[in-house]
């Protein structure tokens, strides 16, 4: 039988809708009956600071000498009502991350690195440990819906208090720490049975809305003798209104966290589909502060996907007073290190994509509560890496500020920016590069 010529066929064509990730998620869901839980922030591409450029100086603006002239980076947070505001040497702080979600060594390293650069770290859902207090020269104490480990002694030994209303990874959601990470020490600190899947409350237990929050803040001030700055942190949901209401409630500082901001553990569907990106959130928060004539009086800290001095410079130019980093700081400590690739592979993932932080099996010893794994992280060396990273971000920030003729990084302004995409121009409220067009105006 003669062999018939096979008619030409198309090559296999994967579906854009049913891509490899989507298919794997459907199979995972069908096998378990439980939604996917992971750590980190939104992974899909969203409009971000990469879509903006700084213009630099030319005929109409004079640059500062890049390597010689002073460009100050310090910032004061909390002077509105607090008698002891925080004076940070750099406008980059370490975001709230809990002991329990992170190892004691990681918390210590964050404190060491931040303190070396004269900036603050932040506690998380689960209370304050002696280790992080002693290694952080400036420590912000989070006041969360769960109130795990919350006690007035820690409130008084903090340098500032952050009332957490929400976070960018999950505006409207509470914290989560699965049973694998509820070790005896974590359980004791949170007054929970060992091994429970701890799903924190998403609403504060004793206040609802900004009028109540105003009274709550007054209570916190009475207890701390009106010394400590009080921050209000919101996930980027409706940042214009949330910022205005936080100011009304008496905040010294407003923290706005965009959807790229990480979490220790949350449903994937929540991380990727609730909240807005950091870029438009900054613009909306600044708009609220300016309309209330509170810009620079109530400080704005923004977070969510900040990675470099360029991100910081653009956030400040849009009107922020400082930024917070979380995920980037963990990478500086040693998270996602390709040197651990074999171990990431054994966990079914790869360096750079590891996000099963909730399982507590982090080979880098960072997102774990397992004391043995935690031993893998040398807090002194990791702290030094974080210090170096913060130093580089600061040098980058100064480079960009000087190029725009600024002797203080807070002098960066929206006029120093242009957008590369129509979306970013619309969201950031700066002109599309090469035009004077701001969509919507």
């Amino acid at each position: 039988m003669s062999e018939q010529a096979r008619p030409p066929r198309t090559v296999p064509r994967p579906s854009a809708s049913f891509d490899e990730y989507t298919l794997s998620e459907i199979r995972r869901a069908a096998a378990t009956g439980l939604y996917d839980i992971r750590g980190g922030g939104a992974k899909r591409r969203v409009p971000c600071f990469d879509d903006l450029v700084l213009l630099g100086a030319s005929m109409s603006r004079y640059p500062l000498e890049g390597y010689r002239e002073a460009c100050a980076t310090d910032v004061v947070l909390g002077g509105r009502f607090a008698s002891k505001p925080l004076h940070l040497q750099i406008p980059i702080t370490i975001a709230g991350m809990s002991f329990g979600s992170l190892s004691a060594q990681a918390k210590e390293a964050l404190g060491r690195g931040a303190s070396a650069m004269g900036t603050s770290t932040t506690t998380g859902d689960g209370g304050m440990t002696d280790e992080e207090r002693s290694h952080s020269s400036l420590l912000v104490y989070q006041y969360l819906p769960s109130r795990y480990g919350m006690n007035p002694d820690d409130l008084r030994r903090a340098d500032a208090i952050e009332v957490v209303v929400g976070q960018g990874a999950k505006p409207g959601g509470g914290g989560m720490l699965l049973g694998q990470k509820i070790s005896p020490r974590v359980a004791e600190m949170r007054t929970l049975p060992e091994g429970v899947d701890q799903r924190s409350a998403c609403r504060h237990p004793d206040w609802t809305g900004p009028d109540d929050l105003e009274i709550k803040i007054r209570e916190l001030r009475e207890i701390t003798d009106w010394q400590k700055p009080i921050y209000v942190k919101v996930g980027a949901a409706r940042p214009y209104y949330d910022t205005a209401l936080a100011v009304k409630a008496g905040a010294d500082v407003v923290v706005v966290d965009g959807m790229q901001g990480g979490t220790a553990a949350t449903q994937e569907v929540f991380i990727e589909h609730v909240g807005i990106p950091t870029l438009p959130a900054v613009r909306e928060a600044v708009r609220a502060l300016k309309e209330l004539t509170m810009h620079r009086k109530v400080q704005l800290v923004v977070s969510g996907g900040i990675r470099s001095g360029a991100d910081v410079a653009k956030a400040l130019a849009m009107g922020a007073d400082a930024v917070s980093i979380g995920s980037a700081a963990l990478v500086a400590l040693g998270d996602q290190d390709p040197a651990l690739e074999a171990e990431y592979q054994a966990l079914g993932t790869t360096a750079g994509a590891y996000d099963d932080w909730h399982e507590g099996r982090d080979p880098a010893g960072i997102t774990t509560s397992d004391p043995e794994l935690g031993q893998r992280l040398d807090p002194v060396k990791a702290g030094r890496r974080l210090k170096n990273y913060l130093q580089v971000m600061t040098m980058e920030l100064q480079t960009l500020a000087r190029a725009n003729g600024k002797s203080h990084v807070l002098n960066l302004e929206p006029e120093d920016l242009a957008a590369l995409t129509i979306e970013a121009a619309a969201m950031a409220g700066v002109p599309l590069a090469g035009t004077d067009w701001i969509p919507g105006r």
Partner: protein, 232 residues
């Protein structure tokens, strides 16, 4: 500012901050606070074993985060009385609004009248005794400690409870998720009798029902499609 024993502090004359400052400044003694008139955050953040009588109704967060102080409120209390208390005793002679004793870690809170919604929400070790009834979602996510209700409990009682133990003499409108009635064993009768004695309230422990967590929500359920179907 040094204060003698039995000092009277007048909120109307001194203002809230001055009164709170005076209460915090002394390590022992007895105070009477006059004219509270619903002031918020009154007598909060105290750290020493002072005895305080508040002569009238208080606003939000009275006796908040209390440590060691003995505080009696002769009137009604607003939202969050004794919230996050660590130790000491707070007694409300009247009724209490929402979130009484919220997240409190220790000490004793006695409400001689009724308590509104979310009494004992996220309680973490406090003992709460309510002479009257409690509103909806009492002891929501209660982690540790004991709650005693001499009257009735509203809907969602003990919802998502962890290890707090609850005793109710009257009826429960509806139990919250994962909250169930449990057997009253000897140790529970004894514990309840002690709580009633400490609270100074007279009731027969045998008239109460104990409620606790069924512990079915402690961990997520992950299915195995290859496992045999459970009979319906």
């Amino acid at each position: 500012m040094t204060l003698a024993l039995n000092t009277e502090l007048d909120v109307a004359a001194l203002g809230l901050r001055q009164v709170n400052r005076a209460l915090k400044a002394t390590e022992s003694g007895q105070f009477v606070v006059r004219n509270p008139k619903g002031a918020h955050a009154l007598a909060c953040g105290l750290q020493h074993p002072v005895e305080i009588e508040i002569d009238g109704p208080v606003g939000y967060y009275a006796a908040g985060m209390n440590q060691r102080a003995q505080i009696t409120i002769h009137g009604n209390a607003g939202t969050g009385v004794a919230e996050n208390m660590m130790s000491g005793t707070v007694r409300v002679r009247g009724n209490a609004s929402q979130s009484a004793g919220a997240t409190a870690h220790g000490g004793l809170l006695v409400i001689e009248g009724h308590a509104s919604a979310r009494c004992g929400i996220s309680m973490k070790g406090v003992d709460i005794v309510v002479g009257g009834s409690v509103g909806h979602m009492a002891a929501f996510m209660g982690q540790a400690g004991r709650m005693v209700v001499l009257g009735d409990a509203g809907e969602g009682f003990g919802d998502s409870l962890y290890e707090a133990r609850l005793y109710v003499r009257g009826t429960v409108a509806a139990l919250g998720a994962d909250c169930i009635a449990k057997e009253m064993r000897e140790e529970h009768h004894s514990e309840l009798a002690q709580l009633l004695t400490r609270a100074g309230l007279d009731a027969d422990p045998s008239a109460f029902t104990r409620y606790g967590s069924a512990r079915r929500l402690y961990n997520f359920e992950i299915d195995d499609p290859n496992a045999p179907e459970e009979p319906r």
